[in-house]
Symmetry: C2
Subunit: 407 residues, 2 copies
């Protein structure tokens, strides 16, 4: 049995604990939804003042050069590259994750002409499924959607692209990137990874794994703010062959020469399209300051400790909530999901108490554990609240019954 | 001959003059580049503090509902709709102008199967040309790029789409939207308009003209900040037929039901793709406050007065600078361009004096006249500076000779 004082002792020994002070978490909130939207940090507050009042307000158009806006997508890309094991100059920041997936997959399938299949799994995030449906439909390919544990056997010599999200947004199940990427390559297919619930949560080794393309999200574990730009990784082996299907001026080799004919930039710059959303990107850039002195292996160790603790406490106190996240460390991301048929009102009652998790249709309560600002005591107290919610009737109050549009 | 005191008198009678106080223009700057990046306004400073510290910092994930982030793209779209003569519920804000053009044109050409041509003109902004090249190449269509005054005669019964930018970024020449849209329709083609240098600069009547699709830019005359989201207009007649080629979750009819199969939203919501860039969009939303009590017909009258004044002063004092912008009001946007073989060092010397215009390759000096924050005296003094630059040798200094990456 884990006690409150055990958690206090664990926190006292936690080398990541001081990082909490870099975030501006509201008083009285235990925030277990950083896997959906990471919190505001002090460096972002300062960075936004600098970008808005200074660079834009004072510098005006001159800041494209003087403040380096023009290089921001590649510069922030290199900062993210370090967190996902990518080579310098292989990551471009900008546009949404969905649009980056479109660019990656539509470009990738053209690298395997004659092959008929795109393979993905049913645990993939819906927007990924939608993008793949759109690409396949327009290109005359078949999209094969299999159960997560059937992906390996679904890959065949007619597979053009294997497009997967490493961590299942619903269950927290983590794919084995090494074996799946190797299987794709063995079949002559291209591996595209979505790192939405990976980047910033634990070490990713894109180059080591040999991934071909990857996309990811700036607003979850990277804490870049609501709707922060996504990112797109293109492996060095594809830097010349891959073409971005959306050909805009920021992807041109000489964007400011205003030439009449498109000529793709060399390297990762061709992943860009239009003028980058500088203000949103400045927030993401500043948010990454938090990671400057962070060892992601340590983040991973603490993540596993926090999710283990949460699972143990649920098992002990709330057996009526089914833990659907894998207990095996190698198959787990950084969030834990519980199943209960009244999951929606339960999570609403919990949020009303200041413990913010979220709900995923039809019956899943989801809790994210971001090690940079959460303590073991947070986990303990969150479960205490959940125990009280379940023991009382408060979640049955009508005010919690209405379904909101939760993202 | 126009004198300084004439300009002072014109400013005293200018009903738009008080709007200047809403902007935070730096001291000592005459800003003639609002057609490239509009300046910061006080409402944006306040709006960004609210969005960052309040909605994100305090509200966290809850702000998707409580702060209305989820509706922001359509809500800001409706505010822009009012400025471009569009029906409510027809404009979606988000993504870059280039990406919106891709969505519009790739979706539009599918509405005219069997037709082989996309028509545009050589004065179109390069990113538009690049996007059209990409769409045509992927779809097996021919892109016909003709001189701006040859568009009308190039439209034929094999034309699927006519895609034009209303105001030429280089010359300031304004197309006649009425006749060109009518000609496209008479030939059975679809008219797609880029309003980058139109929206917020003068009244646009998309519904009146019968335009099929339009895109535009948030960071020029709308003053939404560097890389502000663009917008996409879809005429009511296409709301059911048009399909967005990039199918993401924000374009789904029930995005938060997390359904496995894409089902396009009804109406303008299908123009969205991924999670919207809320911080950049919040800046644009706040920037539009400036337009709340503005009559765009009055903006247009002042714009013509300012550009007339500038052209007259150039004719009078600097005949060596060729005015390439049409003198006919109906063919003029809100900027004026001058040609000089040493345009680059001249504009740099002028910027060093605090008069910010810009340069467009190979030999064009470009000056934007945004009536909400510019006075007649600004125009007079800008020309005074330009006269001094040309009369002296200051623009021949080596420090002005290096070519910068100007956007």
């Amino acid at each position: 049995m884990v006690t409150r004082s055990d958690c206090v002792a664990l926190d006292a020994a936690d080398r990541l604990a001081p990082h909490r002070d870099r975030f501006r978490l509201p008083e009285g909130i235990i925030y277990l939804d950083g896997n959906s939207l990471g919190p505001l940090s002090t460096s972002v507050v300062d960075g936004m003042t600098r970008a808005v009042a200074g660079e834009w307000g004072e510098g005006l158009i001159r800041s494209w050069n003087s403040a380096g806006w023009v290089d921001l997508p590649a510069r922030v890309g290199d900062r993210i590259a370090r967190l996902i094991g990518a080579e310098p100059g292989t990551v471009m920041v900008g546009d949404s994750t969905s649009i980056n997936l479109y660019k990656a997959v539509d470009g990738a399938r053209r690298l395997r002409p004659g092959r008929r299949l795109v393979v993905t799994d049913s645990g993939n995030f819906p927007t990924d499924l939608y993008v793949l449906q759109g690409v396949c439909s327009a290109a005359g390919l078949d999209l094969e959607v299999v159960a997560p544990d059937r992906v390996l056997s679904a890959i065949c010599d007619d597979t053009a692209v294997v497009a997967l999200t490493e961590v299942d947004y619903r269950t927290g199940r983590r794919h084995d990137m090494v074996s799946l990427t190797a299987a794709a390559h063995a079949a002559g297919a291209i591996a595209v990874w979505d790192l939405a619930h990976s980047a910033g949560a634990f070490p990713v080794e894109l180059a080591g794994v040999g991934a071909d393309f990857a996309v990811g999200c700036g607003y979850k574990y990277l804490n870049g703010g609501p709707g922060a730009p996504g990112f797109l990784y293109v492996a060095p082996s594809h830097r010349d062959g891959w073409r971005n299907p959306i050909t805009g001026w920021f992807g041109h080799s000489r964007p400011f020469a205003f030439e009449p004919v498109f000529d793709p930039a060399e390297g990762i710059d061709r992943a860009a399209v239009g003028t980058p959303a500088i203000l949103s990107m400045a927030a993401l850039d500043a948010a990454l300051d938090v990671f400057d002195d962070v060892d992601l292996a340590e983040v991973r160790r603490k993540s596993l400790a926090l999710t283990d603790l949460f699972i143990d406490l649920i098992d002990e106190h709330l057996p009526e909530l089914e833990v659907i996240t894998p207990r095996d460390h190698s198959s787990r991301g950084s969030h834990v999901s519980l199943r209960h048929e009244d999951g929606y009102p339960i999570i609403q009652a919990l949020i009303a108490r200041g413990v913010i998790g979220d709900f995923r249709s039809p019956d899943i309560l989801r809790f994210g554990f971001a090690p940079l600002y959460l303590s073991h005591l947070d986990v303990f107290e969150a479960v205490e609240h959940l125990v009280e919610v379940m023991a009382s009737d408060e979640w049955r109050q009508p005010r919690f019954a209405m379904r909101l549009a939760v993202t």
